[in-house]
Symmetry: C3
Subunit: 275 residues, 3 copies
């Protein structure tokens, strides 16, 4: 489960009640419920970093859903490495991009309604037979997504849930680019509890760029080269390394890089060859 519900209210617990009522054997894992309210990009990033560590039978339910109760579609997305349930508002953008990339069927990254590559299928949830009997206009997590996910986890054929569709809404991916001076320009996309700032530059981007011997400029700091671990510098000092999701990350040993540099999601990062 990935939501923006937080843990102060009973929304998450109620969804679990619905799921376990239908499938008492379900193992339910919380990815995070602390997605900032209505923040689709953070929701997409949360699922993207974690889904590959779950079995391909896992049903990932994402409920960050500012359009709940409107005409936005509710969908199931079937991929080679997981089943995804949620609103069709872009929360699956990064998963779609990653699965497409890994199977060599790259897709448009301009956002908007994109056609799914053949390895993926989506279904428009319309069959109310699989929902709760009474549907609120504010809590489809409980009334639609939870019962659908529970039944998928019990082996329900997803095609019984509604009609197959071949396109889903995505948002424009923030990808790094190399400018005309040969500098790779990326951006911070997530800051974690430790103040580590994850960027949209991956290990693969750096390899394609040609060199790991780089100078990184972020905020008012220059960082020379990549460290291999947090202990690679003195306590309190800022470093760059490839983090657990294979993304370039700016961190501070035993401290918060975010606080030290005063940056946040959307701020730029520049990578130059050291030569």
């Amino acid at each position: 489960l990935t939501t923006d519900f937080g843990l102060h209210d009973t929304y998450v617990g109620t969804m679990k009640g619905v799921i376990l009522g239908l499938n008492p054997q379900a193992s339910i894992v919380d990815l995070t419920h602390e997605v900032p309210p209505q923040n689709l990009r953070e929701a997409a990033f949360a699922v993207y970093t974690a889904y590959r560590y779950f079995t391909k039978e896992t049903v990932h339910v994402v409920v960050v859903d500012p359009g709940v109760g409107s005409t936005r579609r509710a969908v199931v997305l079937l991929t080679p490495r997981g089943i995804f349930v949620g609103p069709d508002n872009g929360v699956f953008s990064l998963v779609i991009g990653e699965e497409a990339r890994l199977t060599g069927t790259p897709i448009s990254e301009d956002g908007g309604l994109i056609k799914l590559p053949p390895i993926m299928t989506a279904i428009d949830l319309q069959n109310k037979e699989y929902w709760l009997p009474a549907i609120s206009t504010t809590f489809h997590g409980r009334d639609v997504f939870a019962p659908v996910a529970a039944q998928l986890s019990m082996g329900l054929d997803p095609h019984r849930l509604g009609e197959t569709i071949d396109s889903l809404n995505t948002f424009r991916a923030r990808r790094p680019h190399v400018n005309n001076r040969g500098v790779m320009v990326g951006a911070i996309i997530h800051t974690d509890r430790f103040g580590n700032m994850v960027t949209n530059i991956t290990k693969q981007h750096l390899a394609d760029f040609g060199d790991e011997d780089v100078i990184i400029t972020v905020g008012d700091r220059q960082i020379k080269g990549l460290s291999t671990a947090y202990v690679g510098v003195e306590p309190g000092q800022v470093l760059a390394l490839i983090g657990g999701s294979d993304h370039l990350e700016i961190a501070a040993r035993n401290g918060s890089a975010q606080r030290l540099l005063g940056l946040s999601a959307g701020d730029k990062i520049f990578v130059l060859p050291a030569g």
Copy 2:
């Protein structure tokens, strides 16, 4: 589980250790552990909004227990739609009221010690055989309620836990009333993570009031009519709608109504017929 223990300490995890030690097959769901310390009304509201989405075999453990270690009773409450375990301090008030209402056996709402209607039974937990061997004076969640709940989840006859009692402590319910000018006066009873403010006015109250074509006054705002979804107004604007618990709710699209209006639990809300 519903508690005011928070998630920084190991109190909740320890209760789960006790439960799983007795019933390794137990499925444990957290409703919330962020009830404000010692806040019986918020605890009662949390359980009330969620319990009907769980099976009737579910054992709901509520530990918001400022009187722990005193002579306050520890009880099990058996209802048609769930089993409840916790201190006899009012945390089950709203569940008792709702079950009584649904079965047409209304009870006094003046609070204090009330007689349970025949559809419900309570048991005074006295039989120490079902508790942990050593009982602290500060943590009955771990020493009394967790082992009792684990054994109930395995089918233990609740009457073995102690003597049947026919009354429980409740607090006076905050119900809306219609004043002599024909205005329905209600109150905010809970604010969620999104800043949505849930009131004590239900869909049923509005139906009894005769009209959904209403003007709502809350803080310094007038809201005309009910929306059917958050997207019913422009971003940032305040709206009123029937929320996921069938209560009238004041919200702001993609924003926090609480912050916009500066209100909190206990503040009043007025509903007038639009005519």
Copy 3:
């Protein structure tokens, strides 16, 4: 699971994905993920207070690991009352001390590398066969500890994970002492959500001191005698009692002793015989 990962990121959920991928039957309990970043003492205290309430087959995974990616060892610790997995950085200090104390084989409390008593065994995790195929330098919780724990929970012989070692790193325990004026001097070691301040003085220490009829000085307050429950004083008043972990605790009825006294972990507490 006990970590300093917090619940905003997907680190904890990802570890659970890895565990359930290997052992779909695993019951996973969160002790806390809100250990302050890199705070080994708080991590050690969290596990110490909770582990005895779990069965002895339980695998306790502790990931508070500032040295991740360095040469610090990753270990399994086998004790009579639980299996522990984590970095060899002191997070198991209090468990080792407690198990040694209970079995009458006291160990040095000076910290540093200490020799385990015969009732405990440790294994240096070196056999990469039981890890994930790709090992990051920043997230051994996911890549090493989660898969090892999952396999231990399925009955894997721990000796297959690496070589047996007879010493582990510990930190110097903060124990109370009696000074030359006959005053027992202890310290606050943890403050909980309610503002209750747990000290390093146990029920046993007080019994050895000879008398429960004591005067306690903490901050600018004098507390006469121990209460048996939070309700032992007037609302808002400060009291001392033996808390749920059998440690002396300073609390305030329906209030926060921490806020009232302005103290925090490390601050001293003095106990005198009332006579």
